[in-house]
């Protein structure tokens, strides 16, 4: 075998590297193209399943996932970079707002929640969409992980009205409120409870503006 | 009396047990039937024997000459006959033998002619040589030659006289100071004059008030600036470096002698021996030994060097229950492996040990790193770390933690709540490291010599090749004249050892070859190939002719080695490596005078 100089070796390795890169990158992009429709369909189905968990399927009849408004950064809901609010209507009448809210003070960081609230401030359902709470300890906020399968903890918010409970009592029992928590994992419960309360108050104060906004529009500053 | 005292870190206060023997005055021990005088003083220094079996010697006659830097002379402790010169166990924990001169005393105590030595009239070096030839070594235990100490350093400010005697049970220095304070002070003044110090400090532990009083009385009578200082009783205050620290505040690092720091320390016993040597011309023939322990008659005896210890035991009448005898104090001494070993210049005490006085240690438990040992260590070491690394044979780490600063005083093991024989681990690690150093030195020496030999063989081959090439060139030149150039050129190329393309090299090779050839004309050409194949044959057939044949080869080998072109660095490396080994060894072995 002949001895290569540095320059010749560089050219050789670089060209082989390029061939491999092009080959495998093309394979990746082809796969990406081939799978995109199926992935989007799956994601859509997944979102709808979540929506239907917190809002009964028959309660609305508008295309829920298309009827949303974009929110700008809203510290009140813990949304640093904005989020979406979906609007459920039945025959054009407002039924509920589905608000993405973030509880920043979870035991293991941020907890993302989807909260469905009707215009009177009554909670229709809450789900944790993303969290990293300690497995076996704080992850009971996800009903699939909750050991009390018959009566998941997070379902206690269903049907509770923010107006009736009052802001002072919208806390876990340990802090003097009305909501249960699990022993040893107060922080997770406290975070979810407080975030749900904030979402309810937000829905209560802003529901007119939110329902009136054009679908897909972006609300910069939500005002009264 | 107003001297400010300093303190050293650590130390312990064991029960001192001095009263057993301190009350009895020094008595001469009876002359033994045989004196066994070792020619070795310590692990490093051996004297050269200058007597023969059957020779008659006088008391004080020199029987061994000083050799080496650390050597001192050895003398006959009594007049009599040299019976034999043989290997005999020595006073060493190993119980190994060393060369000893065995003398049968005739009991007449005839002295060799001797007269006082005027050190003031002689120059310094000859006085030091005189002391060396009088066999003066440190009497504290390590037997370090006094002339070496006296010769080291200049501008010494303070002469420290060590009368601290901190080990429990030992009282020989105490008695010596009580009874011979004047001679000690006189010896100290001689030393003082020899090193040109500005003051003398005598350090005595405050549990020896009689000795302090006697020394003060003696000091008061002379003009030299002597101060007798009572130092707090705390083991190891009698360690040379600890005492210097206490008296002057100076700390002498490991491997250094006091001379570099303006202070020098001698044992009171040494001062006494110096007095005998200078004022009376008597070499060091005897020393005071404390016999104590589990004994009915503990006391102090003036014992001739070379007296077997077994001969001394009846003097103290050991009580029943005595199961072994310790040489030295209980903190640093060792159990005698053999009772026939002789008293040497460093032997200060023999303790009859019983289970009641020196019980078996409790079983060793795990180290809990409580740090007691570090608190007790007078060398400011971290004994538990040293233990950890010595135990796991991680010697590099142990040295990083200053293993060789350990003076083996035993304080750490004394206080250890887990009853770990810490000092044993350090001794093990130290000797192991020395052994490895020796092995490494030997290995690198062997490697160098092996490489040099290979180089030499290569060179010889090359020279042979060059010779052949030169011959070929000659032939070529001859042939060139006759006009056959092509074939010869090929022949030249066939010898790769001489690159004929470089004219200079060829010239050198030719020159070398010429020189070689002249020499080689008398040589048998085929010797290199000869030996392996035909050796046996030749040996059987014609020893005479064979040896003739080979003799020329051997001489050529021998002569080629030193004379010819210097090889790359190997020759120059060899002596250096040896020197380095010697100096590290020396540094490592320097012990401290202690009692």
């Amino acid at each position: 075998m002949t001895r290569y100089t540095a320059a010749r070796t560089s050219i050789r390795t670089a060209s082989i590297m390029v061939i491999f890169t092009l080959m495998f990158t093309s394979m990746m992009s082809l796969t990406y193209r081939a799978t995109r429709p199926a992935i989007e369909a799956s994601q859509f189905a997944e979102r709808m399943r979540l929506m239907n968990e917190i809002l009964p399927a028959g309660a609305y009849n508008n295309p829920l996932l298309d009827d949303y408004v974009e929110l700008g950064p809203t510290p009140e809901l813990g949304l640093d970079r904005g989020g979406r609010i979906y609007r459920a209507r039945r025959d054009g009448e407002p039924v509920a707002l589905i608000i993405e809210v973030v509880a920043p003070d979870g035991y293991a960081g941020r907890i993302q929640l989807a909260v469905a609230i009707d215009p009177t401030g009554r909670v229709s359902g809450v789900r944790a969409t993303n969290h990293a709470e300690t497995p076996g300890l704080g992850d009971y906020i996800d009903p699939r992980k909750d050991k009390e399968r018959a009566r998941p903890w997070i379902n206690q918010f269903t049907g509770v009205s923010f107006q009736e409970v009052g802001e002072e009592s919208w806390r876990v029992r340990r802090d003097g409120g009305v909501f249960d928590y699990r022993i040893g994992a107060t922080i997770s419960a406290r975070a979810v409870t407080m975030a749900t309360g904030r979402a309810a108050r937000f829905a209560l104060t802003h529901h007119v503006a939110l329902f009136d906004a054009k679908a897909g529009s972006r609300l910069g500053e939500v005002t009264e | 009396m107003s001297a400010r005292l300093f303190s050293f870190h650590g130390g312990v206060k064991p029960e001192h047990h001095k009263n057993e023997s301190a009350g009895s005055p020094i008595r001469p021990a009876p002359l033994p039937t045989r004196l066994i005088v070792p020619l070795r003083h310590n692990t490093r220094a051996v004297a050269v024997c200058r007597v023969e079996p059957g020779q008659t010697v006088l008391k004080g006659e020199r029987i061994g000459d000083a050799e080496g830097v650390l050597g001192t002379a050895v003398h006959a402790p009594a007049s009599g006959t040299v019976v034999e010169i043989r290997e005999h166990p020595m006073a060493h924990p190993s119980g190994l033998a060393t060369t000893c001169v065995v003398i049968e005393p005739d009991g007449e105590e005839r002295w060799v002619p001797h007269q006082p030595y005027d050190h003031l009239a002689s120059d310094r070096q000859s006085t030091l040589n005189y002391l060396r030839d009088s066999g003066i070594v440190g009497m504290g235990g390590a037997a370090f030659p006094s002339h070496v100490k006296l010769g080291a350093g200049s501008g010494i400010e303070t002469l420290v006289l060590n009368g601290a005697e901190c080990e429990p049970w030992i009282t020989c220095d105490d008695r010596l100071m009580r009874e011979r304070a004047v001679t000690i002070i006189d010896g100290a003044i001689i030393l003082f004059e020899l090193i040109g110090a500005r003051r003398i400090l005598v350090g005595i532990e405050d549990n020896k008030p009689e000795a302090i009083a006697a020394m003060r009385a003696a000091a008061a009578d002379c003009k030299a600036p002597i101060e007798v200082v009572a130092v707090p009783t705390r083991y190891p205050a009698g360690g040379e470096k600890q005492l210097i620290r206490v008296l002057t505040g100076i700390e002498i690092p490991h491997g250094k002698l006091g001379g570099e720091y303006g202070v020098q320390c001698f044992n009171v016993g040494t001062a006494h021996a110096v007095h005998r040597a200078i004022r009376h011309g008597e070499p060091l023939l005897s020393r005071v030994v404390t016999l104590t322990g589990n004994a009915a008659q503990p006391g102090n005896y003036e014992v001739l060097i070379g007296t077997p210890i077994a001969d001394l035991l009846p003097l103290m009448q050991p009580k029943p229950g005595t199961d072994r005898y310790l040489l030295g104090g209980p903190m640093m001494g060792f159990a005698l492996p053999d009772l026939s070993v002789p008293i040497v210049k460093g032997s200060n005490c023999i303790i009859a040990a019983s289970q009641a006085l020196f019980p078996e240690p409790e079983p060793e438990l795990a180290c809990i790193r409580c740090g007691e040992c570090a608190r007790a260590c007078p060398a400011d070491l971290q004994p538990f770390e040293l233990y950890w690394y010595s135990r796991s044979r991680n010697f590099g780490k142990a040295q990083e933690y200053h293993l060789f600063d350990c003076i083996e005083c035993g304080c750490c093991a004394f206080v250890c709540p887990s009853h770990i024989p810490l000092v044993d681990y350090y001794r093990f690690a130290k000797t192991e490291i020395w052994a490895r150093e020796r092995e490494n030195t030997a290995a690198s020496q062997a490697r160098d010599r092996f490489e040099f030999r290979n180089y030499r063989i290569e060179r010889e081959k090359a020279e042979k090749a060059a010779r052949l090439a030169a011959k070929a060139a000659e032939t070529k030149a001859k042939l060139a004249k006759t006009g056959e150039p092509v074939a010869i050129e090929k022949g030249g190329d066939d010898k790769p050892a001489v690159s004929s393309d470089d004219p200079k090299k060829a010239l050198i090779a030719a020159a070398l070859a010429r020189a070689k050839q002249q020499k080689a004309e008398v040589e048998a050409r085929n010797t290199t190939d000869l030996p392996p194949e035909t050796a046996a044959e030749i040996a059987e057939i014609d020893a005479r002719r064979k040896s003739l044949d080979l003799s020329s080869k051997a001489t050529s080998t021998a002569s080629s080695t030193p004379n010819q072109a210097s090889p790359p660095s190997v020759e120059s490396k060899l002596p250096q490596a040896n020197d380095a080994a010697d100096s590290t060894g020396t540094a490592v072995h320097v012990n401290e005078e202690r009692k």
């Binding site: 082989i16 590297m17 990746m28 199926a38 992935i39 997944e46 300690t134 497995p135 076996g136 | -």
Partner: protein, 233 residues
């Protein structure tokens, strides 16, 4: 490809050179996802797929890859394959993807894939490389299954939790009943280290006993019979 080398591959992957217990490669995913058995096994299966395909691809292409750039090329191949697996799962096995979604990209960072590619596939023929990939993957799977099972059992008192997300007809087993106090530390990261440490200790103990027994027995045990014993157990 003969039976003998197949057995050797199997023995190496499942026991002797087990990636989880001996090579200790890919500790990050092993420790992170072994909180329960279902997650652990699922990721293990995805790893098998990636390892088999990656080994096959590299072994086929090995003669075209210069020594100097082998590592970037290997990583490129592995990363592409993992992306393809990830996308395919998302598109066509969406249920499984929901469980494994976040773990599949982790396979790229799993050193075991790169290690086998470098140590085996780059030097051997495609078929035995594929088998090596599968066997190493299976070795990882059983370790993951044991680890996940133990942690889940001690930490939560259940087994197969989350299986209903893959097979809706099945449900987790409550082993210790309701009164069990979850020993949370087993599920938390420290538990992963403890459990793996104990498993490795057990593994070494078994090996030492086997070695001791082999030493006592006059006839030495061959590697093949050991492999059988291992795969049977």
């Amino acid at each position: 490809m003969n039976m003998r080398s197949f057995r050797e591959n199997a023995y190496n992957g499942l026991w002797k050179q087990n990636p989880g217990l001996v090579q200790l490669l890919g500790l990050c995913p092993i420790l992170a996802i072994s909180t329960n058995m279902v997650n652990a096994v699922s990721l293990g299966l995805a790893t098998i797929l990636v390892m088999a395909v990656a080994n096959l691809a590299i072994a086929s292409l090995r003669n075209f890859i210069p020594y100097e750039i082998r590592i970037p090329v290997f990583i490129l191949v592995i990363a592409s394959l993992v992306t393809i697996v990830d996308l395919s799962f998302n598109a066509w096995l969406h249920e499984l993807y929901l469980v494994l979604g976040i773990f599949i990209p982790l396979i790229v960072t799993n050193c075991i894939v790169l290690a086998r590619v470098e140590a085996y596939a780059a030097k051997n023929d495609p078929i035995s490389s594929t088998i090596d990939g599968v066997m190493m993957g299976l070795g990882l799977v059983w370790v993951l299954a044991v680890l996940g099972g133990v942690r889940e059992l001690i930490g939560g008192g259940t087994l197969f939790s989350g299986i209903d997300m893959i097979f809706p007809s099945l449900s987790p087993i409550q082993v210790f009943g309701d009164g069990y106090h979850d020993f949370l530390i087993a599920i938390l990261p420290p538990g992963a280290f403890f459990a793996l440490g104990c498993l490795i200790a057990l593994f070494n103990w078994i090996n030492m006993r086997a070695a001791a027994r082999a030493a006592r027995r006059p006839k030495p045990v061959t590697a093949v019979s050991d492999a059988e014993a291992a795969s049977a157990g």
